[in-house]
Symmetry: C2
Subunit: 340 residues, 2 copies
């Protein structure tokens, strides 16, 4: 049973290719094709399980019905969850997803943009590394819908969805201060990205305004987690005065908790903890960890809605929408009042 084409269907049913095509595309009524014929064709198509070639259609129409999703790493739980939610909503609208992991690598991302481009994807959802402004702007200039999330690029004028990083970090830091902690560290991955800069800024602001000194550790990301855990351990040992720490991301938090466990530090007695991103590890840690929870569902929903809007719009351009969502501080035992 070889693959059928529209032509075959038409021949089998002794009707025209055009009619089949119109019926397939739901334009039967518009083209005034008899309901009787429509039914006959649909029944036949059903029977033989005919599926028109998306490739051929794509070549002809210039639409691929594919959305390119570029994230730092699809295995990151935050991005994996977003990917899942986006997939669901996109699917309902007839779009499929091709994903790429950028590793936050500028050159790799440029290449990946080209890869998606040659596949004629209809729209892009990008959590961009720094340095790809030019490439994304070219995409936009070529009329492609692009939505950024998690971070944005100041020099790229297109929709984005982010959280209020600065406020969230400041708020969490102030919370620690209110609980009685004074020497509060900030541990995060080194990054020039907007979201990390915002978190860092909020942390520094809170401390500065209250007159306390910042202690910052920027971890270089490596695939070998042990190395990163060791970095955190060294930092904690080198700064025994610390009584609290804010982690800038879930992986930083995971490394930190492992480091603290290995150092046999008690939470919150030896060190209070708050981390960005909520995750099972924080809920289940020996002392449940206070987390700055991102509204993941809302982020995913906004992202795909914005993209679908642009996809529908046709007319390109339109107002640029910059969405900033609020986080929620989920207070748990790790940030309890300082005992002394």
């Amino acid at each position: 049973m070889k693959k059928l084409r529209i032509k075959d269907i038409a021949k089998d049913l002794s009707i025209s290719k055009t009619a089949v095509s119109f019926i397939l595309n739901g334009r039967a009524q518009e083209k005034r094709i008899s309901g009787e014929l429509v039914e006959r064709v649909e029944k036949y198509i059903q029977e033989v399980g005919f599926r028109p070639s998306a490739i051929a259609r794509g070549l002809r129409t210039g639409k691929s019905n594919i959305i390119g999703l570029m994230v730092e790493s699809i295995s990151d739980p935050f991005f994996a969850t977003i990917a899942r939610l986006i997939e669901n909503e996109a699917y309902k609208e007839g779009y499929r997803i091709i994903y790429c992991s950028t590793d936050n690598d500028t050159e790799k991302t440029k290449e990946l943009i080209n890869v998606l481009r040659e596949r004629n994807v209809d729209g892009y959802i990008i959590s961009p590394p720094p340095g790809v402004e030019k490439e994304i702007n070219e995409l936009i200039k070529a009329g492609m819908p692009v939505v950024m999330f998690d971070r944005y690029l100041a020099k790229v004028k297109t929709d984005y969805v982010v959280i209020d990083n600065e406020f969230s970090a400041e708020n969490a830091t102030r919370y620690l201060l209110k609980q009685g902690y004074r020497n509060i560290g900030f541990i995060t991955f080194s990054s020039s990205l907007t979201q990390m800069k915002g978190r860092m800024k909020g942390y520094r602001t809170a401390l500065r305004e209250e007159g306390w000194k910042p202690y910052v550790l920027e971890i270089d990301f490596t695939p070998d987690e042990k190395v990163m855990v060791q970095t955190v351990k060294d930092f904690l040992v080198a700064n025994p005065k610390l009584d609290a720490v804010l982690f800038g991301a879930v992986q930083a938090g995971a490394c930190g908790l492992k480091a603290m466990t290995q150092l046999k530090m008690k939470v919150p007695q030896d060190l209070a903890v708050i981390s960005f991103d909520d995750h099972d590890i924080f809920e289940l840690f020996a002392t449940p960890v206070t987390a700055i929870a991102q509204p993941i569902e809302k982020i995913a929903h906004k992202v795909i809605s914005l993209l679908l809007d642009r996809l529908d719009a046709e007319n390109g351009a339109g107002v640029v929408k910059e969405i900033v969502l609020k986080t929620r501080l989920k207070v748990r035992a790790s940030s309890g009042v300082k005992a002394e």
Copy 2:
């Protein structure tokens, strides 16, 4: 700057379309095109950033260079990690990935297979739900390379990569028995899939041979985790004799640990724990949890290698490779010797 076509390149360089095409496909030497010309064309292509349309090429050649990846849910950390590793290796070989989450839903999966089929994907990596034997067999009959993983379908004769579920579960159960536990429960998601059946069987075998009674809870999966946690709580409360429990999957383990935390049960004093799949939550739990770790890298590597082999082979058929990998019991404090 509109999109270039091969034709434009040829015109700009005053040479033939054919030459450009051959050079693009690395067949210049074979076609005895002068090195000088090749260089000139490559330089120009570089300069203007020309990328041939993958769609047009796909239509012409029948190859899409896309691999379809179908997993239960891309947000599941196990599948997300696999997806990432597969992406990397596939990318090196020039393949891109379209993913779909099946939700383990038979009808949805059938539809998704068709979706991938109409996109002309070159190969399939599937972690199949039950009931899609017919559809997958059709794929295979049509000459499509298919590799299954995590579980397999007995009635589908194609490559697969799984772990030794039965042995792993039996081994873990025996370990608990050796540590002095006697009333050992098994908590898992309800499933007729091979991997879960294997785990169940191994668990039962160990208990039967040692003369102890099984206690099984099969959780119905729901997106609302609270419901599942409650189910586990009810089960634990209803079976106060339990002194140990084996979780059949990481999510079951997560639900279980949450339930136990809420019930203020101490591990391992009130209940010893071992879970399938290793994960940060197990490492970081108040009492670190013994885990049956799957060799994720090896699984991903095997899966994509098998698929690439088949993709290269052309000749279809070939011997069916059924790979069974070993797991590793990572012993932690949650399965310490029973105190009494």
